[in-house]
């Protein structure tokens, strides 16, 4: 097992910080799909799909959109 090394930690330029306010946006795709009042209904139907089904499938896009946005806004600048 690796123990903490004796020498003082040096701050490396490669190190990213996680503390970005953008990260809070990620709670949207965590919370929204867990609120049944949004999706637990039949109408309106889309292509024959009751709302229960198409809306939850649409939440996938919400998840993709949000994570992509947060990734783009928080990724390392300059060297990538």
């Amino acid at each position: 097992m690796a123990a903490p090394e004796p020498e003082a930690p040096t701050t490396a330029p490669t190190r990213a910080k996680d503390h970005s306010p953008w990260n809070w946006l990620l709670f949207i795709p965590i919370v929204v799909p867990l609120i049944p009042v949004f999706f637990n209904g039949d109408s309106p139907r889309v292509f024959g799909f009751p709302r229960f089904y198409w809306l939850q499938l649409a939440f996938i896009l919400l998840g993709v959109g949000t994570t992509t946005l947060v990734y783009q806004m928080t990724k390392k600048r300059g060297d990538s």
């Binding site: 097992m1 690796a2 123990a3 990213a16 965590i30 049944p36 089904y53 994570t67």
Partner: protein, 549 residues
């Protein structure tokens, strides 16, 4: 019987043999000179880029059992089975936030398992041992479920015998092959095979969801058929929408399963194998493509209703095996060769996660039991060797579960598995953010959560069994005047946290030693190329140079 399915069997076998060959070749794929190191065998050299990680984690989380069981649940219960969709939506933002930190700290310190992290973070071999055992115990039945996925396919093709051994022989052979190439190639085997598996699955599902609605009269008719079936059934909780009683169960099950899934050792193995933080974060926005696939696969359950599929009989007299409905649907609606491709997709879909799971369980044993308690000074080569052998043992155990126990029992065990793996959440997931909890508090919380979870699962009855009948716990058992149900895991982990917090406060007041944190705040942001990580050269050098705690 099986002669009617000859084309399907031939296509299935050919594809199966193709990926088996790939599994053996994988040892040389992206391989270093020296495979005798756990980082190489068990984590693919921690070198996987975006595409490989996408296929690997995707292949890891969406298993053969998912493809068979989710539509089976939709077929039997309706909307409640669709929980898999929100479940796989909420998991990615969670991973984005939490597991990147685990990746960083593991990269920096050379951790291979979540228990390695806990050991260092809380300075407690006992807590680490609990985490490791929990991981192994939860993973075993999960592997067994993969076999149930293959078995559903084989059963539909008529490959079945009169006694237990004959019936399971094809699975034993399949797993022997799997065991051999996992032994040889480690994590590289499932990573390479995942390409084939997912390509096949995407093709099959896209064809199915375009062609089947056309053949069955459109989506409107499919939902109408499902609606009619549930209206006619006596069960009050089925239907194409949720009712007042099972909404809480639906959301807690989705959330609890998401939390559980990313605590499973095999998911963590997939994440740790990626080469940097960027790969993980990018993947979290690309992986939901699989969720879309899963949603469509779930709807195969309704298509089976519309197509009038009758499930094959189960193992005990009078029961039906709903797991066979997807294979039967393909058998009835598609030409034999295409059904064969679909079956191969499901069969191979079982191999990828089974391999990763057995590797993850083996790594836990090696790092947190063998190295911690049996042989302190094990060299990297010895570690790799122990892991390889343990992965074989784990697979034999999973096969034994299927052959000697009622497969239904494995499904129950997996249900329990989800609840017990959730009990590692305070130490592993919260441990990544805070060291506020006292190590002893975490241990006591684990015991409390585990005890309560088991008790609750024991209380849940189903039409066919008195205990362990499901994960929906009636709140009336707690004295609430309601018919609502809640997912056992969420309650158990909440109690676990509460107990851990109370015990922590008590121990802190009593000034009980809380050990030394082996990590620094900066470790949680370390990325590829961090100067404090010494990859490659150092690892291949003599093990004496490795600092020993």
């Amino acid at each position: 019987m099986w002669r009617d399915h000859l084309t399907e069997i031939i296509v299935f076998s050919l594809l199966f043999l193709l990926v088996s060959a790939m599994g053996f070749v994988a040892a040389r794929w992206r391989a270093p000179k020296d495979m005798a190191h756990l980082d190489e065998w068990g984590l693919g050299g921690r070198s996987f880029g975006g595409w490989i990680t996408w296929f690997l984690i995707g292949g890891d989380l969406y298993t053969a059992y998912t493809f068979v069981a989710v539509p089976a649940l939709m077929f039997g219960a309706g909307a409640a089975g669709f929980f898999a969709v929100p479940y796989t939506i909420v998991i990615y933002p969670l991973v984005f936030l939490v597991l990147v930190r685990l990746w960083s700290v593991s990269h920096r310190h050379g951790f291979v398992t979540p228990a390695d992290f806990v050991r260092n973070r809380f300075d407690s071999p006992v807590l680490a041992l609990l985490i490791a055992i929990t991981g192994i115990v939860a993973t075993m039945p999960y592997i067994a479920l993969q076999l149930i996925g293959i078995e559903a396919v084989l059963k539909t093709m008529g490959v079945t015998g009169d006694n237990a051994l004959a019936r399971h022989l094809p699975i034993i052979i399949a797993f022997a092959i799997l065991a051999a190439y996992t032994y040889q190639s480690g994590l590289r085997a499932p990573a390479l095979i995942a390409f084939v598996k997912d390509s096949l699955i995407y093709i099959v599902i896209l064809v199915a969801v375009i062609y089947l609605p056309y053949k069955l009269g459109g989506w409107g008719d499919i939902f109408a058929a499902a609606d009619a079936k549930f209206d006619a059934s006596p069960n009050p909780n089925d239907g194409i929408l949720l009712n007042g009683n099972n909404q809480l169960q639906y959301v807690t099950l989705a959330l609890g399963s998401a939390l559980a899934l990313f605590l499973y050792p095999h998911s963590i193995t997939g994440v740790l194998a990626s080469k940097n933080r960027d790969v993980i974060k990018r993947n979290m926005s690309a992986l939901p493509a699989y969720s879309l696939l899963l949603g469509l696969i779930a709807l195969l359950g309704y298509m089976a209703i519309a197509a009038g599929v009758k499930p094959l009989p189960g193992n005990s007299a009078g029961s039906v095996d709903n797991n066979t409905i997807v294979p039967l649907l393909f058998d009835q609606q598609f030409p034999d060769w295409f059904a064969g491709v679909a079956y191969a997709a499901i069969g191979i879909g079982a191999l990828v996660p089974a391999a990763i799971m057995s590797i993850a369980a083996a790594n836990l044993f090696t790092r947190n039991i063998y190295k911690e308690y049996l042989k302190r000074d094990a060299s990297p080569a010895q570690e790799a060797n122990v892991s390889k052998i343990t992965s074989l043992v784990v697979k034999v155990g999973a096969v034994a579960c299927i052959v000697f126990l009622d497969p239904q029992f494995s499904i129950d065990l997996q249900l329990i598995g989800g609840v017990i793996i959730l009990q590692t959440l305070p130490a592993v997931a919260l441990g990544l953010y805070t060291r506020w909890f006292h190590r002893t508090g975490l241990i006591v919380g684990w015991v409390a959560g585990m005890g309560l979870g088991m008790w609750m699962l024991y209380q849940v009855a189903s039409p066919t069994r008195k205990h362990f009948g499901g994960s929906a716990f009636p709140l009336s058992e707690f004295g609430f005047d309601t018919t609502r149900t809640i997912y056992v895991g969420i309650v158990a982990v909440a109690v676990n946290l509460a107990v851990a917090a109370l015990v922590t406060l008590a121990l802190r007041a009593a000034k009980v030693d809380e050990g030394v944190d082996g990590t620094e705040p900066d470790d949680y942001f370390a990325d590829e190329g961090d100067p404090r990580v010494t990859p490659g050269t150092d690892r291949d050098a003599d093990s004496a140079r490795e600092p020993v705690a």
